[in-house]
Symmetry: D2
Subunit: 361 residues, 4 copies
């Protein structure tokens, strides 16, 4: 039987020919497990090291991790010995480090790795808004990687630290980037976020069944600031934030995966629905192994996108939009992305591919 009822396969030609040895910091957690899943059979990246907290160090990975991802632990990873999360505990010859540490831990550890010469592609929220840290979505602002030179100059690092944005930010920003040509001015966005965004134990069933929660700590601030940095411009020396005003309201709903967001965008120009849809559909992608063929899928059916039906578009790496309508001052629409793939581990992996492609690794 060739039928595939729920296909998540990305068929990617090997576009990055060399082998790159990578490690994962915080490999036993929820995002760490997703990293392992995405790196299994990766065309370029060769997982060489996994680290976790001191409690887990020294154990076999399959003993240390409570594996909860929906595919089995890859056999070679199951047998790996978990290392301490410290620069002196991992092999010298790693080319690239992925990090999904808790932000409090990451704030101390990631600079230590960068100083020791490792290039770190991190999903953790610390330092995302630091002036010399690239916050990158390859399709949107690959040129911001130039900040690595600034970072190395200022911090005296041989390595580097780059970040991907928060899951709720990344869901919306590709659509805003597509709108920028029409004079993006003010944004009001309200999110309907899935429970997996809080981690496996983050939201109890008693809290969310037959319910919704109108607040997610720190999330609104992240959306409001990270969006402006991602859309900002880099002149080779410093980064200027985009001057659009972004207002966010964040809610948790009883959905497993996939953040849905309702966006109102004030635009200086007055594009019609078709022009907006076309700008989104034709927003250029990148030629990297984990990148989707089409960055933004636009639905004509106003009932779409829906989290359960559309979160797995192009292996969870595409963004979906729909319900585009004109308003008095611009447009409104909905957008959606898979929060733990495009919104977390997949975003870091894609940034890692960009780092390789651009020669930083």
């Amino acid at each position: 039987m060739g039928a595939n009822p729920n296909p998540l396969i990305l068929v990617s030609p090997y576009r990055i020919p060399m082998s790159v040895r990578v490690g994962i910091l915080g490999a036993t957690g929820a995002v760490g497990q997703r990293f392992i899943q995405l790196l299994d059979d990766h065309p370029t990246f060769d997982l060489a090291t996994v680290t976790a907290s001191d409690d887990s160090a020294g154990k076999r990975y399959d003993e240390a991790a409570k594996w909860r991802v929906d595919t089995p632990i890859p056999d070679d990873v199951a047998d790996m010995e978990v290392q301490r999360t410290a620069a002196d505990a991992v092999p010298d010859d790693l080319d690239l480090i992925f990090s999904s540490l808790p932000s409090g831990v990451a704030a101390d550890v990631e600079p230590e790795f960068a100083e020791a010469g490792y290039v770190v592609s991190s999903n953790s929220s610390n330092d995302r808004m630091a002036e010399d840290v690239p916050l990158t979505i390859p399709e949107i602002n690959a040129d911001h990687l130039g900040l690595i030179e600034v970072q190395r100059d200022e911090r005296g690092w041989d390595g580097a630290l780059i970040k991907n944005p928060n899951c709720s930010t990344i869901t919306m920003v590709p659509t805003l980037a597509a709108l920028d040509e029409f004079g993006l001015d003010r944004v009001h966005v309200t999110t309907l976020q899935a429970v997996s965004g809080a981690g496996y134990d983050g939201v109890t069933s008693m809290e969310i069944i037959d319910n919704a929660i109108p607040h997610i700590g720190g999330e609104e601030e992240k959306m409001e600031s990270e969006s402006r940095k991602l859309l900002g411009s880099f002149d080779g020396a410093a980064l200027s934030l985009h001057d659009a005003e972004v207002n966010a309201s964040c809610n948790r709903i009883p959905t497993l995966d996939g953040h849905l967001e309702s966006v109102f965008a004030d635009l200086a120009d007055d594009p019609d629905v078709e022009a907006v849809a076309e700008a989104m559909r034709e927003y250029p992608g990148v030629d990297l192994p984990s990148a989707p063929e089409q960055l933004i899928h636009v639905f004509d059916d106003p009932m779409r996108p829906q989290p359960r039906l559309d979160r797995n578009l192009e292996g969870g790496m595409a963004v979906a939009a729909g319900g585009i309508q004109e308003t008095a001052n611009g447009i409104k629409y909905n957008c959606l992305a898979h929060n733990t793939i495009r919104g977390a581990a997949g975003a870091s992996v894609l940034n890692g591919e960009l780092l390789v492609e651009e020669g930083w690794v």
Copy 2:
């Protein structure tokens, strides 16, 4: 045991002394059943007649209705004979008619009843925006009842037709009314609406479990237009819409009852959070049997209001707000109401009480 784990009781003194004979059009449907529940033991209203479609006419109520409300059918209602939904099929001496007919049916039938001399308090969506039809929330715009004179003049009716707004509208408008003193200018609202708003069979389980739906047909237009009518002013002859711009995006989520809404309000003035909270908390109520003691309950905890925890405030007749924060141009906050009580049958009953209090019945 005196404990009441989930109390929904409104203790109301008899403020309207006379007995009023009422009927319900469309009494077997979901909202019709909620009318029956709310009218049971009502201090003033005496349910005398229930109507339904021709298929049900002639049957006992408990045979005609598939009762789905969480309290038993009142004994006296169970035994009632269901009547046809026609002015010549109900007793002449009814003082007040409640209507929860499908809007297509209501558009024909409600004018027929009004012409025949009945005062109709309707939850159906037809004619809500008609220039001579009062669209009323007693605490917000009781003076709009004066339109009944205009209506009678224009249509030659002895009776009258008044409407309550859509459930998603009524959740937000009390908070907007409280903000009006600060110069309400633009509104961006995104809803997270419960499945009961679509009726008992409106949303299948396959559609909504682990999902959300980013569109509810006609809902956004209702919120955008009804809000401006409710907040508009009546000069004794005609009604002017409020000139605020209202932009709505409506979503369905897997919650049973209670609409949660995220609101951004641009304000001409620059009130701080405390001033806004105070304006909401102190927004005046009305002295009617079904009215809550406090119209708007304001939470300091940003995690509230939540649908499951707060939808039953004051018997489901209060509105809740929380998460008030300043923005560049005004404020943002969340609000919540029980969509089938304050947002439907309870709204019509409250309007009926106002009609009696003001002498129209």
Copy 3:
């Protein structure tokens, strides 16, 4: 408005005239909070003391407890100072102690209280199967309280320790007691249990949305052993277990409150459905403040009982049954009870009322 959309009120005459001073051990947890809710306005019990872990001792109750019950903290309880959970930390003049401690803690602490002279009515699972500890449902086996004499003789206590059964046990046992007259022989029961049975944080949303979990640690053993003790006979000196064989399979489903259980019962006699229904409906209740008027409500509609519709019958203190059908060797049916009211705090309170009524307090 007198309508009460979801009434849970038990109107009970004062049948126990005196005032009884009570304390709650473990008052800040989920069951502890439910105790406080049920004791608010209790006709006889006067809550005098609340205890918690050393971390909470010394704080005001409303500071120590993360209140999650759907009614507000009673004002007088909010102000109470939380005490250490130790016999020397509570007033001497308490008449009755309710315990909802974690079973590991309870195993040490409850005997200490009983030795110090307190009568302890406990919901914790430790010692339920001890030979000299009464495991009691007042309607089923009130005579087992006679074991207190045995207990005092053996342990040299002035106080006493009595237990109520596990929530899944108590849902089924009233129906089995009603069947005993037909020669109860073998039982096969499969449970569909609500998430609240695991405590507020017991089941994460990621575990249970769009899912079910086919195992609950220790639950099957509890059902199999506790049932036989509850249905056993006490001859004044020792207790004999009922000789029915009980086989249980326990599952967790995405329901908030209310355990639903499918039971197959082999019976020596061959009663028809009506005889079984009548035996259940007419199973005698008790005259205690928290007791339901009718212990077992039997539905003719095979679609009932359902957790959401029927868990609150008689304030959550009644049991529901339905779907009774004959099988080759007996009958099958479904039963339901509110797991945190009749299945936990309410069960302990009812046992406390029995202790008073019978003169042990």
Copy 4:
């Protein structure tokens, strides 16, 4: 990126070399759509015709069907013209017909097709218990196909009608077949069934969120009778039912796909857990394109199988078991299968493959 986060692929060698032209009766419904999904890229079956009700006949398939499956409509199917569901409306040269008609319609139409010479592999519930109709799971009772000779003799058909069992039956029967060597005597099974078993519109969200429904019309009778037929023996002339007694209780829970069932099996022998697990694990499969490599996957972890985690084992065509424990008279365990793949369309397709392999087509 080669990672596949949720793989459902069955990699099957072409074991049936010829091309077989097939049609689907009732192709626009939920099961019909699943047929189309499973037949896309099938190694042998070539979909030539789709039929639906008269309302849809003459339309393009993508206009007639409200497509709800999670993969796109195959392009060639989208363009097909829907035919009437009648033997004279489909091509003469079809080799095999799949049917997912409503059972009321199927009872008339399927015999008409069989009489006209078509071999019909049907998922509809009509005629499953007819004495001359094979009810088949290829791995369990492929020899029952011999009944086709009896059927043709008695009915004078050139074609044939064969059936697959109900989704809840097929979940359990493979495990019972594995237990038969231990002297299968009595079975008590309670189901926790997913909402998709009732069809797309079968269970409303208001009925099932925060709830469970203890009855599914006709389901228990199907499980009790179909199981005994599937496990029965065919002597070349007639079929004898297995003499085990099967007692079923069927419940609906808020899960999208995957029926979980708790089984108690009385056994004449006294196998230990390991012997039972081995019998299940080693139960032989069949060499057909849609068949799983291993029919029954047995988990040692008592928390498994879970619907969301395990329903897609081997493309949804495997059965899972776990929680095996000894009881006084045999064993208890849980089992799980994907109700719309192994339990419906996939079961019919597999039967179709068996018909081809055995030369009936």
